[in-house]
C-alpha cells in the first residue's frame, strides 16, 4: 500500500513480451473446499467466495465433496457439446475472416462455463446468457444451421436480419435473446425468477455476464433485487481475466473475488474452477437446488481464461502476452474432461479424434445447408419489408408509410 494517495491504476501481471504470470490467481487443491448443505446460512459459507471449488485434480481424478454424481454418458455428452462448440467457433471464425459474416465471438477456453451449468438446470428453467455462451444454445439443441443462419442474416435467420451475428435466441428451449448491451440480462433474469415465484411455479432462472460487465449498474440491480426478494435465480460471472483490453482488475478483481460480492449483498458467493466441467456442474447444481427449494439466489464466479480475441474486431496481441492461455493454471476445459474420461476408462485419444472429426463434419454439413438460405452477398435475400415489422405487435401507420416509401424507391417489393 503506497503512503501517497495517488490514483492507483490496476496493472496486469504481464504485457506483450512479458512471460505470463498467473501468480495472482488463488488456487485451492481439488476436493479441498467443503460442500455445505444447500440450505446453509450465508454467513456460515463465506469461505466459498474466496476458495476455489475444484473437483478434477492434476491426475484427472474427481475429488472431494463437490464431485458430482454424473454418469459417463452425461460426461460424454458434455464433452461432445464442448467439442462441438469449439468446432463451431473455429469454423465461424474462419468464415468471418473470409468476409462471409460480419462479426464473430468465440468461447475458446470457456466452454465448461456454459456446458457444466447448462446441464445443472431443468428444461423449464430460463437461461439469460451473455454473448460468449453459445455452448448453452448448442446444449439446448438449437440447430447449428439455425445459429449459422442467424450469423448470416439470411432468409432462415431467427432474427430476420436485424441482429449482428451471435445474437441468438431460442424461445422454445428457454434461452433468452442475447443483448449487445452488457449486463442488462442480469436483472431481467432476477425479474423472471421473481415472476416464477409470483406465479408459484417451480422454475428458476440463471444468467451469465463477464468479469468486466460486473461494473455495470445492472449487476447491482440484479444482486439487490435478488437479495431483497430472495429470488430463485443463479447469477453467474465468467471471470475470463479480460474485458476487451482491460484485465479483471479494472472491475475490482484485484481486491476481492467477484464471488465475494455475494456475501456482501447477503447471498452465497462461490468461486469455482471454470475449466473443470465437474466443478462447474456441481456448483451450479448446488445453486439450482438452493434456489428451487426456496433458498434464494447464489452468485457464482467461474475462474477461466478467454483463449481467443475478444471478438473478430479485436487484436489481443496488443495488450497481453501471446501465449498467456497456454500458461493458465486451470488448463483447457476440454483437455481436462478428456483426461478424466480417460482416467475413468471411458474414453481414448482415438475416440476423441473421431469425435472431433465427426463434430467438424457436423459443422461443415450445417454450413452447407445454412448457405442455401442465402448469405450477405448471395441470394436468396431477406425481404426488406421485415425491417418494419416487430417494432410493435401491430405495425403502426407511420411505419407502413415508411415501408411503402422504401419499396416504391426500390421499384416495388424486393
Amino acid at each position: 500500500m503506497t503512503k501517497n494517495p495517488k490514483l492507483h491504476i490496476p496493472q496486469p501481471t504481464a504485457r506483450p513480451g512479458d512471460p505470463p504470470d498467473f501468480s495472482y490467481i488463488d488456487l485451492s487443491e481439488a476436493g479441498a473446499i467443503d460442500r455445505p448443505p444447500t440450505d446453509a446460512a450465508v454467513r456460515d459459507i463465506e469461505y466459498l467466495a474466496t476458495g476455489l471449488v475444484r473437483v478434477l485434480d492434476d491426475d484427472h481424478e474427481a475429488k472431494g465433496p463437490w464431485a458430482p454424481d454424473l454418469d459417463p454418458e452425461t460426461l460424454l455428452k458434455a464433452l461432445e457439446i464442448m467439442v462441438l462448440t469449439r468446432a463451431y467457433d473455429d469454423r465461424m471464425l474462419r468464415i468471418q475472416r473470409q468476409g462471409k459474416i460480419s462479426f464473430y465471438i468465440q468461447a475458446l477456453g470457456e466452454e465448461a462455463v456454459s456446458v457444466g451449468p447448462g446441464l445443472a438446470f431443468e428444461d423449464g428453467d430460463m437461461m439469460f446468457p451473455a454473448y460468449r455462451n453459445q455452448g448453452l444454445y448448442i446444449l439446448r439443441n438449437t440447430g447449428l444451421v439455425d445459429m449459422m443462419c442467424q450469423c448470416l442474416s439470411n432468409t432462415r435467420d431467427m432474427c430476420k436480419g436485424r441482429q449482428m451475428p451471435i445474437f441468438y435466441h431460442n424461445r422454445e428451449k428457454n434461452v433468452f435473446s442475447i443483448s449487445g448491451n452488457l449486463t442488462t440480462q442480469f436483472p431481467q433474469a432476477v425479474g423472471w425468477a421473481m415472476g416464477a415465484a409470483i406465479k408459484g411455479d417451480d422454475h428458476i432462472a440463471a444468467s451469465w455476464i463477464g468479469d468486466g460487465s460486473t461494473a455495470e449498474a445492472d449487476f447491482h440491480h440484479a444482486l439487490t433485487f435478488a437479495a431483497v426478494y430472495n429470488a430463485p435465480v443463479v447469477l453467474n460471472v465468467t471471470n475470463n481475466q479480460w474485458a476487451i483490453s482491460t484485465f479483471q482488475g479494472f472491475a475490482g478483481g484485484e481486491r476481492q473475488s467477484f464471488a465475494s460480492r455475494g456475501p456482501g449483498y447477503g447471498m452465497p458467493g462461490i468461486r469455482v474452477d471454470g475449466n473443470d466441467l465437474l466443478a462447474t456442474y456441481a456448483v451450479s447444481r448446488w445453486a439450482a437446488e438452493r434456489a428451487r427449494s426456496g433458498g434464494g439466489p447464489t452468485l457464482i464466479e467461474f475462474v477461466t481464461y478467454r483463449g481467443g480475441a475478444h471478438s473478430t474486431s479485436d487484436d489481443p496481441t496488443r495488450y497481453r502476452p501471446k501465449d498467456e492461455w497456454k500458461a493458465f493454471p486451470l488448463g483447457d476445459p476440454i483437455e481436462r474432461l478428456i483426461g478424466h474420461l480417460e482416467q475413468l476408462g471411458q474414453w481414448s485419444r482415438s475416440q476423441q479424434e473421431s469425435l472431433e472429426v465427426k463434430m467438424k463434419e457436423k459443422v461443415s454439413a450445417a454450413w452447407k445447408e445454412a448457405i442455401t438460405f442465402g448469405t450477405m452477398t448471395d441470394p436468396p435475400f431477406l425481404d426488406v419489408e421485415l425491417m418494419f415489422e416487430d417494432v410493435f405487435e401491430e405495425t403502426p401507420q407511420h411505419l407502413k408509410e415508411q415501408r411503402d416509401k422504401l419499396l416504391a424507391m426500390r421499384g416495388g417489393r424486393s
Partner: protein, 333 residues
C-alpha cells in the same frame, strides 16, 4: 384522476391474474400520490410490490417478469427519476420484440407522474416525454383527464407493447386552467371527471378533438389541454382543440384534417421547447398541411431552462402565454 388510475389497476388486476404492480412505496403505503392505495390489501404483496429505490432495477426486473408471462405495471415515483431506468427502457424494453422477432416481448407499462405546478422545483416537475417519443419500439401516452386516464391505462396494460404512461401530477386532483391564483377545482364538475366503474378502454393511438372550432387548431396534451381551453375562451377565438393523448404513435390524420380546415395551428406543451415533442408536431403538421397554412405554426412551451422553484408560474405556459400565442397565429398572414 388518482381514483381513475387506481380503478384501472383494480379492474385489470381483478380480470387478469398476470397483472402485477411494482414501484417505490406503492404497496403498503399506496404510493406517494396514492394511486395504488388499497391494492396491496386486496391483491396481496406478491401482486402489488414495494420495490428498492432503483429505477433501473425496477424496469429490468419488470422486463423479466414480462418475459415470464406477467403484465407488470411499474411506477416511477417522479418522471424526473426515470433516467436511471433509461437504458433498460431504450435498449431492452423497446427492442426486445424486434430483436427476437416477437419470440420474446415484455408487456410492461411504466406509469410516472410528470409536469410542474406543485412547487416541486427542477427535480419534481419535468416533462420528459420528448425523449421517449424518439425511441422506436415504445409507445408514449400523456393523459389529461380521469376518463381517459383509466381507459388509456387499461389499454396500455392490455397492450403487448411497452408503454410509457405520463400522468401530469398538477391535474391529479382536478383540472387546472393555467391560472395559479384561482382556487383549485375538483374533477367532480368536469365532464371527463366522471369515470365508469368497470372495464372500458380508450384506444391507444387516437387523438381527441376536445373542442370543435374553425379559427385555428390548438394541438396539445396533458395539463395544457385545460389551459388551452381557458385561453381560447379568453382570446375569444373559435379554436379547435386537440388532445393528442397518445404521443407515439401519433394520430396524424386527426391533426391533418383539423389544420387543413382551420389553416392555423398552435402547438403547446409544458416541456422545454428545443427538440421537444412540439417540434415533431410542427414538423408533421407542416408536412401534411403546408398548402393550407395561413400562418406559421407557433409553439408555446416551457422555456429551455430547468424548471425553477420560485419562477414556476413564469416557466409554466400560463393562460396569458397561450392567449398571446393564439393572437400571434391569428394575426399572422
Amino acid at each position: 384522476m388518482i381514483q381513475a388510475i387506481r380503478s384501472a389497476h383494480d379492474v385489470m388486476m381483478e380480470r387478469d391474474a398476470t397483472v402485477v404492480a411494482l414501484g417505490q412505496d406503492i404497496g403498503y403505503f399506496g404510493g406517494v400520490f396514492r394511486c395504488t392505495e388499497g391494492l396491496q390489501k386486496k391483491y396481496g404483496e406478491h401482486r402489488v410490490i414495494d420495490a428498492p429505490i432503483a429505477e433501473g432495477g425496477i424496469i429490468g426486473t419488470a422486463i423479466g417478469m414480462g418475459v415470464n408471462g406477467l403484465r407488470p405495471v411499474a411506477e416511477i415515483q417522479f418522471a424526473d427519476y426515470i433516467y436511471p431506468g433509461f437504458d433498460q427502457i431504450v435498449s431492452e424494453l423497446s427492442r426486445l420484440r424486434y430483436r427476437s422477432c416477437g419470440d420474446f416481448f415484455a408487456p410492461v407499462t411504466i406509469r410516472t407522474p410528470c409536469g410542474g405546478g406543485i412547487r416541486g422545483g427542477q427535480t419534481h416537475s419535468q416533462s420528459p416525454e420528448g425523449i421517449f417519443t424518439h425511441i422506436s419500439g415504445v409507445k408514449t401516452v400523456m393523459v389529461s383527464n380521469p376518463y381517459d386516464a383509466k381507459g388509456l391505462l387499461i389499454a396500455a396494460i392490455e397492450s403487448n407493447d411497452p408503454v410509457v404512461f405520463f400522468e401530469p401530477k398538477r391535474i391529479y386532483n382536478g383540472p387546472f386552467d393555467g391560472d395559479p391564483d384561482k382556487p383549485s377545482v375538483s374533477w367532480a364538475s368536469h365532464p371527463k371527471g366522471e369515470v365508469p366503474e368497470g372495464y372500458y378502454t380508450v384506444p391507444l393511438g387516437k387523438a381527441e378533438i376536445i373542442e370543435k372550432g374553425t379559427d385555428l387548431t390548438i394541438v396539445t396534451y396533458g395539463t395544457i389541454v385545460h389551459v388551452a381551453q381557458a385561453a381560447a375562451k379568453k382570446a375569444g377565438v373559435d379554436a379547435e382543440i386537440i388532445d393528442v393523448r397518445t404521443l407515439m404513435p401519433l394520430d396524424v390524420e386527426t391533426l391533418r384534417d383539423s389544420v387543413n380546415k382551420t389553416g392555423r395551428c398552435l402547438v403547446a406543451h409544458e416541456a422545454t421547447r428545443f427538440c421537444g415533442y412540439g417540434a415533431e408536431l410542427v414538423a408533421s403538421v407542416q408536412k401534411e398541411c403546408f398548402w393550407h397554412l395561413e400562418a406559421p405554426i407557433s409553439r408555446v412551451t416551457g422555456w429551455d431552462t430547468p424548471y425553477p422553484h420560485a419562477f414556476e408560474w413564469q416557466y409554466f405556459p400560463v393562460q396569458q402565454r397561450l392567449v398571446d400565442g393564439i393572437r400571434k397565429v391569428m394575426e399572422a398572414g
